[in-house]
């Protein structure tokens, strides 16, 4: 009995796996994870960017929830001054089966070197989505530093639109997704609810033409997003804009029996 027990233990814990066995085990675990193969991200060797940092924060919240230590409390990487601007996502996060962050692919500006109104456009590739899952929420997150120039004591009205149709020589068709009113001196992450757009993009990826952001003062004057303190793709890596999408599985994943 004790020999059998020791043998079992040694085979479970101490046996060195052959290369083939290791590959088979890797393939088996990848299949449980629903991955066709081992992902190969490009190693950038720079400072971690904003999306992985945000996701790591979510991971810690979800992991502690799995351990039943924390019930619903989720910490957002949002300074307290702006936290009231963020919709409560506690339930969305705790019920999510998958959370994906997307890196901003394209950024276009119509800034102070162009005619008013000023705007900023962002685009995200949402084609690599988990199968059999539906979007429960999607947020566009952008970091705001203190504003420069004459608008520092004013309130900024920041609007995010979905680009429905772009035209060559005239204005694109836009659909308003979310608006936030922020004091120009505030600093921190802003989160805009873009769930409606991401659902449309999921149904038809060719309609994903991106997001456009405008900033106005109380009187309707256009403000350059850069001067308002919004950090773009060329800003510090931990403060670059990104998209985060929450998914819920339609049904438990079914694995093919072998």
């Amino acid at each position: 009995g004790s020999f059998l027990k020791n043998h079992l233990h040694s085979s479970f814990i101490h046996r060195k796996l052959s290369g083939r066995e290791k590959k088979e085990i890797q393939r088996e675990i990848l299949s449980i994870m629903g991955l066709p193969g081992r992902p190969r991200p490009h190693s950038e060797g720079k400072l971690p960017s904003s999306a992985p940092l945000f996701m790591l924060d979510l991971y810690h919240a979800m992991a502690s929830e799995d351990e039943d230590d924390v019930s619903q409390g989720v910490s957002h990487p949002v300074p307290s001054s702006l936290s009231t601007q963020i919709p409560p996502l506690g339930t969305v996060i705790s019920e999510a089966d998958t959370v994906m962050s997307f890196v901003n692919m394209v950024e276009q500006d119509q800034d102070i070197f162009h005619q008013k109104p000023y705007w900023k456009e962002f685009k995200f590739d949402l084609t690599q989505l988990p199968k059999g899952e539906t979007v429960t929420a999607a947020e566009f997150r952008i970091y705001k530093m203190k504003s420069f120039g004459r608008s520092t004591n004013k309130t900024l009205h920041i609007s995010v639109y979905e680009i429905n149709k772009s035209h060559h020589k005239r204005e694109s068709n836009l659909f308003l997704l979310d608006v936030q009113n922020i004091a120009a001196k505030e600093e921190g992450w802003l989160a805009f609810d873009i769930t409606a757009a991401s659902n449309r993009w999921l149904l038809n990826p060719k309609y994903n033409l991106g997001l456009r952001l405008y900033i106005e003062l109380d009187g309707g004057q256009s403000v350059d997003p850069g001067l308002a303190g919004l950090v773009g793709r060329r800003g510090p890596r931990p403060k670059q804009p990104f998209l985060v999408t929450f998914f819920r599985a339609n049904q438990p994943p079914i694995r093919a029996p072998r």
Partner: protein, 139 residues
């Protein structure tokens, strides 16, 4: 000598009618007494050992555990034995060819969350259900 003493004691406490016990099979139970009862054992799955830390951000591994041990009649030392497992163990005692012993298996499992990069450097946080054995029992 200890084993003999325990045998006596157990025989006394197991008030099964003699007609239900197939000769010799009950002795088999006592032979396996030295074996371990069904319980949870340590098992750590290491993403580091799998050389996956270039795409798995967190965790570096997780305690998965496994269930192992005997499910022999009587199952009173195994707190999580189902009624069916008790009956199956009885049937196994009487007709071992008709039904195998009850299995030592997880009774409660919990999820883990894994944070990883995909090929496009997007970050995915996924919850995988039924990955960690919380408790074991006889089924």
């Amino acid at each position: 000598s200890v084993r003999r003493a325990m045998k006596k004691k157990e025989r006394k406490t197991n008030d099964l009618p003699q007609s239900n016990i197939v000769s010799g099979k009950y002795d088999h139970y006592h032979e396996s007494e030295g074996r371990e009862m069904c319980k949870r054992h340590e098992l750590y799955v290491s993403f580091r050992d799998l050389e996956w830390l270039d795409w798995v951000i967190a965790p570096q591994g997780y305690a998965a555990y496994y269930c192992h041990g005997e499910c022999s009649f009587p199952l009173d030392s195994c707190m999580n034995a189902t009624n069916h497992a008790i009956l199956q163990s009885l049937v196994h005692l009487m007709k071992p060819e008709a039904a195998p012993k009850a299995c030592c298996a997880p009774t409660k499992l919990s999820a883990i969350s894994v944070l990883y990069y995909d090929n496009s450097n997007n970050v995915i946080l996924k919850k995988y259900r039924n990955m960690v054995v919380k408790s074991c029992g006889c089924h």
